[in-house]
């Protein structure tokens, strides 16, 4: 099964094997999360306390959002914490910090819910 996933990954089929935090702004985030889990966990590579909020058992009910960071570092953090489950996580890279602003996030780690999202 792992070999099949590896081959599919190499061929660019299915989900990537590695963490992949898609860069979005708040508009794109709203569109992309209409049918997503309700819980949103903000994290960054400079946040040492974020580890306890990024766990494999949360993958199916959580949206992970990296903010005030670089995308390669955000991907790496997710990979380190979630290991081989990282590719299954829903992750966005807050490319202009507009998502953090829309949720009123000013420090990390923090958990929010989609209902906390301020209306445009």
């Amino acid at each position: 099964m792992k070999c099949l996933a590896l081959i599919m990954g190499l061929l660019g089929l299915g989900s990537p094997l590695w963490a992949d935090c898609r860069p979005v702004n708040i508009t794109e985030f709203r569109e992309a999360t209409q049918k997503s889990p309700n819980r949103v966990v903000f994290f960054a590579s400079w946040c040492s306390s974020c580890a306890s909020h990024i766990t494999a058992d949360r993958i199916h009910d959580t949206i992970f959002v990296a903010s005030a960071d670089t995308r390669p570092k955000a991907d790496k953090v997710l990979q380190v914490y979630l290991k081989d489950r990282a590719s299954a996580a829903t992750c966005f890279f807050d490319k202009d910090e507009s998502i953090a602003q829309a949720f009123g996030v000013r420090n990390l780690p923090v958990e929010k819910y989609i209902r906390d999202l301020r209306q445009p």
Binding site: A44, S45, W46, C47, S48, S49, C50, A51, S52, S67, A68, D69, K73, K76, V77, V80, E97, A100, V105, R106, N107, L108, P109, V110
Partner: protein, 297 residues
Amino acid sequence: MKWSNGLLLTLAIAAALRWQPAWACSSCGSGAADPVILNPLEQRKFYLGMTLAHRFQAVDEQGQTRKDYGPDRKTKLELAYAHRLTSALFVSLDTGLGENRKGSRAKTGMTDTALNLRWTALMQDVTEPWIPQVQLVVSHRFQTTKSLQDSKELYNLDSFGAGYDETFVGADVWFGMQPILFGASFLYSQPWEENTRSGRLQMGPTEKWIGTLGYKPAETFKIIGGVVRDKRGPIELDDQPSPVPSDKLSHDVFLTLETMRVEDDNFRLSWSQKAAFGSNRNATETLTYTLAWMKTL
């Protein structure tokens, strides 16, 4: 004006008796002259600190502790505001209101004002915890209030500032990704020449080294302690060096407890003792306590 023992004593301890930068923050981000630090997601922060300093004892050029000098107690209400300019750069401004007390006599006045710029050259990364955060600091303290040189009150109760402008540059290295935290800061300052009623005063440059060790027992709380080596060059008056050694050396210790609540206000309680250990000269022994409230805006 010629040097006199009284003038030397006054100048030598002037810098020690004035309000010092809040280096107890040394490694909550850094050492320098700025008490308020922004994390990468914070855009603005307000700081309100109350400081009490007492048990002043002057240490002379021989390292001997002399009888107390100046006020018995100095209290200060410090206000600071930090504003992010870019993702890696923020500016802060701090000033305060002080009270000097000797027995039943007391005077209040504004303290000097400082403008600080802090740039994060290297960000910490939890996946590579052995790479430190590196911040560079440039700060300027403006002489905005009366100093010991202008003092007309008994026991210098009307002295609240340094008496000269001073420009600081520094670097702060901080390993903060593990439960055990540690770091070091270096701060160099160049005082500006000032015309005083005694003559043209040039205080010597200072070098401040800060070593810090801390522990984070919980996500929302940290304890930080450290030592400071504070060295200042000799004083010149009308380009004439002092006839006796006027350079300052002080070894200080500090301890800070700080909350790190993510969505609430935070508090910092600091204790420090100046000239606490080792050899000290032209310094001031004093105990200082600070309680600060910080609010992200």
